[in-house]
Amino acid sequence: MNQYILEIIYLIASVTFVVGLKMLSEPQSARRGNLWAAFGMTIAIVGTIFLYQSKDPNTQTSRETIKLAFIFAGIGLGTIIGWATAKKVKMTAMPELVSLFNGMGGACAALISLLEFHHNVGHPERISVIMAGMIIGSVSFSGSIIAFMKLNGTLNKSYRLPNYNIINTLLMIVTIGAGVWLTVSGSDSMSMLLLVFGLSILYGVSFVVPIGGADMPVVISLLNSFTGLAAAFGGFLYGNQVMLTGGILVGSAGTLLTVAMCRAMNRPLYSVIFGAFGESSAAASGVSSTGGSIKDISISDTAVLMNYSKKVVIVPGYGLAVAQAQHVIHELEELLEERGVEVKYAIHPVAGRMPGHMNVLLAESNVDYGKLAEMDEINPEFASTDVVLVVGANDVVNPAAKTDPSSPIYGMPILDVENAKHIIVNKRSMNAGYAGIENMLFYDPKTSMLFGDAKDALTKLVAELKTM
């Protein structure tokens, strides 16, 4: 009886996951969708704690106080830490937090496999599922941690061994080979198990470490679908439908999302994984020597220029997010609008660190939806734009993507800001952007550089405009 009630709960939870994901893909219903999925998750967890009964006659399910105490303590601790971190984190640091939470899920899946191994020895079909869950979960765990460290700047270089592609492929083959051996041989060797575990962790690290630049969100999305797969293998192991549905849903949706992101950057997935981002520093130095000169502009000149324009387009980038300048920029926009200047924001699909990251940030500071223009919509308008203000963006306005086939970002669709009458670029320094490549736009005769921290410069700009 209890078993059936639990299955019904699982059914409801699975439906909330599907409906939740569907609602998450439309702006009006997104928030409710998330709450529905959270509701489904809650009943599935509570139901499992109180109603679960193993279908396998060899395993005893029991609910001694000490076990329940451990479970509730774990959930309590996880809830407090998870809730506090998620509430406290700055919106700019959100992408790396998603990566971190993803890693936690991967680690959880890997641990389950470690714990289930021993008493499933002798059932090769179960061991194969356990191995798959462990390898994928561990790769997702260590990969996500590396991605987290890369995004928050702890690890800001892309280290590459010579022939790293070959080394990685070999490592992957050895890891899978060891997993297959454990499955086929029926061995119960704990050290062999730990070896597979260690190799998977190592592979996760060596898989993500060479990937850099603008490709990071794609990797996170990919690892996200990995964890989904790992959860699904857990579902297979226990014959648990909700783990299976949830896991596979995320696995397939995550893969599709990964592909969609790749498409937005015009980079095939294989070149993200085996690609050449980060090798560009040598090429970059060559460009800068032939670059010509750059032109400075003062705050007051910028203010004058903007005040007498008809149309201003703001191109926000990660620098805006880092400087927490999303509120000031909104103030600037309102001020200009009051004076009859038409202001729009041009949002590149991968502006910031993740697709949609900029939209979230600008929404936080109450910028009107209608002012956010997507790339295809705004590109034809640059020709009739008086001033483009680029704030902390770099690679997404780099004309090399169109003109220089040797550039690592060649082929990526960009914002055609060079068609505007004036381009003002706010940057902290002349350092290259996230992809580590020089930007010819800065040497364009129409371009002026407004050096300084985004928040600082914009605050002064707003003050200057107010005196006019």
Partner: protein, 104 residues
């Protein structure tokens, strides 16, 4: 080989779930605007936290005096909860910002 075929046969309904879920996943995400990529990824991230159910099952199936297993299971439960709670809360925070916008 026989093992494998038996395994597949016994788990046929599972295999149906897998195949249909793949299509549902693809279908559901189909036409998402790029504005929502990040919240969607974050929401999906929370959903795969369903793996926590596995860690609860591990705990329920262990002997109550096996402190090592219980402790490791405890760690797994904490990790899974972090994924679930953190994932849903951070997604909600992102979407909250979209919500208070007056729709154009």
């Amino acid at each position: 080989m026989q093992n494998l075929i038996t395994f597949i046969g016994e788990n046929m309904s599972m295999i149906y779930i897998v195949i249909l879920s793949i299509f549902v996943g693809v279908e559901v995400i189909g036409k998402v605007p790029s504005v929502l990529h990040t919240p969607l990824m974050s929401g999906a991230n929370a959903i795969h936290g369903v793996v926590i159910i596995g860690s609860i099952i591990v705990m329920l199936n262990t002997e109550a005096d096996n402190i090592l297993l219980l402790s490791l299971g405890f760690v797994a439960v904490v990790l899974g909860t972090l994924n679930v709670v953190g994932g849903f809360v951070v997604t909600d925070r992102m979407l909250e910002m979209f919500k208070k916008k007056p729709k154009k």
